[in-house]
């Protein structure tokens, strides 16, 4: 029986993936994609979907896992957004060459330059020309249906290419729409399991796509790849027709025409903006204007033949772009459209509009004006302005509260009430003072503090915090400022233990005199609490939920202090929000070490998170204190290889005291608590032994 429900686009996509019985799902959080992989984690934990779920350590790895899994013959899905998609870039190029028919959900969000979360196509723009099939959805129903259609298209041996399914962040990802969920049995019949023609599994195949191609064959294989994409056009149309027969919904293949009959002017749109354009066209038609709409559904393969056919009947075209190809005076769809029509029999005016960047709404009124301008061009037979930017006025937010303080941070923030990292950053900056540059890999703090700090604070790409710091430090060093300005990170645990580890390791090994402050809330809290490499054993997170088939995180956290000690850096310390004098002393020591140019100083502060650990916000400091007193978060420092416990409880408190108030541990059995208690005692003993036995090796 067909089910239905009101759901956000990300859930519709997750349902599509579930119905397609995807076998391997590598995952990594990024807004506004994260809930896709959270829903999938839920399906698996509930036992509704039987798939390998891989918590990856960054998008580069995530995409590589997807390609590897596809090469080994599985049906694969992963999804990402914006910066994450950019970080996948080189693997995306590889996926086309290895002919891996995997589906990548791209929840569109603006890329780079100025950080923002809203939808535009600057993220998918650099990925368009790497040999993938690239689809865009207008509605949540289309998201679900196309995820099924795309597997059928790309697993067809005439195609065998990876595909991107684009859905606009926020407009679709989080907006609720009515969606029909097809029956599993019918989907199973329509979409049989994927059978890889060439697998890297040596037990089933002795052929697989090669890594290298002889030089003289490169041009030939580019032609062949282009022919495959050419062939995919008919497969896309076939699959859409076939889908309509079975499921009753038809989308038009590469393009959908809307009220194009006897039109003089056409608007061209992609994605969710199309709905507003439909309404504008309706209005103009009711006013007697001959205007229509073409929704481009696939940017690759680009529907040039279709557009040529449609354009031959009209007098002008206006292309709405949520994408700017800087230095070309226009957007990507505009240029593709122009190129497609250049050799058409008759040349018509083509207008480009760049609108809705950074997630700005493109309302019906704007679509109406763009259509009006296109109609005018149709009438006049020429273009006045080739490309226009559709801009809106900006209302300044209320000014900050004037406040006098010697500290380099003002009161107030955008953090949650009772946020532990707000306590940490205040003391970090108080000790380091105003001559500090803060390099901030994306985390909650990226939202919370930039507006209230008096020091330069800039956002680093997630994987490259310590590399940005290195650059700043070396430049200042060159200018004789190495002992005048502190270069410090304020990084979360994901930006330290997972995606940021490589650049941190490099900076530590090179002996860069920078400070790394990691505030550890033991999950990816900025994206809503997904497990990280620093999430403790058994903790419930949104990607390690507690359900019938899964009971929280099943592996232990990384020991960051030991990892850093293996780099022989001069100063390593753990800190706590509950022991402020101890924390301030450690920050001062880190400052001294770097001021003397001795190398990297690493400070790892536990940040109890009321929002993500599920305890009342007034107990943040208490949780920190209990973590120290139970031995769950021992406070120590390693100075030039010598370990010293800086807070030594006479006797460790029972671990249950610390675990019980936190809902993320409420599912723990007595045996599990006992096991964790035992491990903590062993760890405590080993720290006590280290304290007396002398230096770490390598110092």
């Amino acid at each position: 029986m067909t089910q239905s429900g009101v759901m956000p686009g990300n859930k519709a996509l997750a349902y599509g993936v579930k119905l397609a019985r995807v076998e391997v799902i590598p995952a990594y959080p990024i807004t506004p994609q994260t809930t896709v992989v959270e829903y999938l984690a839920e399906f698996i934990a509930n036992g509704e979907l039987d798939a390998e779920y891989i918590d990856s350590d960054g998008e580069h790895s995530c995409m590589a896992m997807a390609v590897g899994a596809s090469m080994a013959g599985s049906r694969v899905f992963t999804s990402t957004s914006s910066q994450g998609l950019a970080y996948m870039h080189e693997v995306i190029a590889q996926a086309a060459g290895y002919r891996t028919p995997l589906l990548l959900g791209v929840v569109n969000r603006t890329l780079g330059w100025y950080w923002a979360l809203g939808a535009d196509y600057s993220d998918v723009m650099p990925e368009l020309n790497l040999g993938w099939v690239v689809n865009f959805a207008e509605s949540n129903q289309e998201v679900l249906d196309m995820s099924l259609q795309l597997y059928k298209v790309i697993e067809d041996y005439r195609v065998l290419l990876p595909a991107m399914m684009n859905l606009d962040g926020f407009y679709l990802s989080y907006s609720q729409e009515y969606v029909k969920i097809p029956d599993q049995q019918i989907v199973d019949e329509w979409l049989p399991p994927y059978k890889a023609p060439y697998s890297v599994d040596p037990t089933v195949s002795d052929k697989f796509p090669a890594s290298f191609l002889p030089g003289p064959l490169h041009t030939t294989y580019r032609r062949l790849h282009e022919e495959v994409l050419e062939d995919s056009r008919s497969v896309i149309a076939e699959v859409d027709d076939d889908f309509a027969k079975v499921f009753g919904r038809w989308y038009g293949g590469l393009v959908e025409e809307y009220r194009t009959e006897e039109a003089d002017a056409l608007l061209i749109t992609i994605g969710s903006m199309t709905t507003a354009a439909r309404r504008a066209v309706d209005r103009l038609r009711s006013e007697g204007e001959r205007v229509g709409l073409v929704k481009i559904r696939f940017l690759r393969p680009f529907p040039d033949v279709e557009l040529r056919k449609i354009a031959s009947k009209v007098k002008a075209i206006g292309v709405v772009d949520r994408m700017m190809l800087h230095g070309t005076r226009g957007g990507g769809v505009y240029h593709d459209t122009k190129a497609a029509l250049y050799n058409a029999e008759s040349r018509i005016p083509i207008l480009g509009f760049v609108a809705g960047m950074g997630g700005e709404d493109i309302p019906e009124a704007d679509m109406y004006l763009m259509a009006r301008k296109t109609l005018k061009a149709a009438e006049q037979g020429h273009v006045e302005h080739e490309v226009e930017f559709v801009e809106h006025s900006y209302q300044e937010p209320p000014p900050p509260v004037p406040y006098d303080t010697p500290d380099p941070i003002y009161p107030g923030s955008d953090g949650c009430a009772g946020c532990g990292s707000s306590i940490i950053i205040r003391h970090v900056l108080k000790v380091l003072g105003k001559n500090t540059v803060v390099v901030n890999p994306p985390s909650c703090s990226t939202i919370n503090y930039p507006s209230v700090v008096k020091v330069p604070w800039f956002v680093a790409n997630f994987a490259a915090g310590a590399a940005y710091e290195t650059g700043v430090y070396r430049s200042l060093k060159r200018k004789g400022k190495a002992d005048v300005v502190y270069v410090a990170s304020f990084a979360g645990d994901g930006g330290t233990a997972d995606i940021g580890l490589q650049s941190l390791s490099g900076a530590a090994e090179r002996g860069e005199s920078i400070i790394w402050v990691c505030y550890d809330n033991e999950a990816y809290m900025n994206t809503g609490g997904q497990r990280s490499g620093s999430t403790p054993l058994y903790a419930a997170t949104t990607t390690t939920p507690v359900r019938a088939r899964l009971r929280g995180k099943q592996v232990r956290r990384k020991n960051l202090e030991l990892i850093m000690a293996a780099h022989s850096i001069p100063y390593i310390a753990t800190g706590s929000v509950a022991y402020i004098p101890d924390l301030e002393k450690k920050i001062q020591k880190a400052a001294n070490v770097t001021r003397l140019g001795k190398g990297l100083a690493f400070i790892h502060v536990q940040q109890p998170c009321a929002t993500g650990w599920y305890f009342p916000e007034n107990r943040t400091v208490e949780m920190g204190r209990l973590a120290v007193q139970t031995g769950a978060w021992p406070l120590y420092e390693v100075e030039d290889g010598t370990l010293k416990l800086t807070i030594k409880p006479q006797e460790l408190t029972s671990l249950a005291e610390y675990l019980k108030p936190q809902q993320r541990f409420k599912h723990l059995t007595d045996d599990q608590i006992e096991q964790l208690q035992k491990e903590i005692h062993e760890n405590w003993e080993s720290l006590l032994n280290l304290e007396v036995s002398g230096k770490f090796t390598g110092y």
Binding site: P399, P400, P411, G418, R426, V455
Partner: protein
């Protein structure tokens, strides 16, 4: 816009001099009140306040700037003398 005549075209600037406190009083459902008779001026409330909303005057006694208080209740919870009590905001 965040630009003056001298700034370079197309660069949206952060101006450190134009910053200040962030007004968050509207976040509260409850607010702390200090009982100065019980206060021992230990400054723990100031140390732990996530928002920097508590300052200490010259005589060592704490003062809450309610413009920056989110009402999290950490000061109340941590006060060793129970000299801070959370109070529901009337009319909410």
């Amino acid at each position: 816009m965040n630009q003056d005549k001298k700034s370079i075209k197309g660069i949206y600037l952060t101006d450190l001099a134009a910053k200040g406190g962030k007004y968050v009083a509207t976040w509260c459902v409850q607010i702390p009140e200090i009982d100065y008779n019980s206060c021992i001026k230990c400054k723990l409330c100031q140390e732990y306040c996530p928002e920097g909303a508590i300052t200490v005057s010259e005589d060592g006694s704490p003062k809450i700037d309610y413009r920056f208080c989110k009402g999290c209740g950490i000061c109340d919870h941590e006060c060793p003398k129970k000299a801070i009590k959370m109070k529901e905001i009337e009319g909410l």
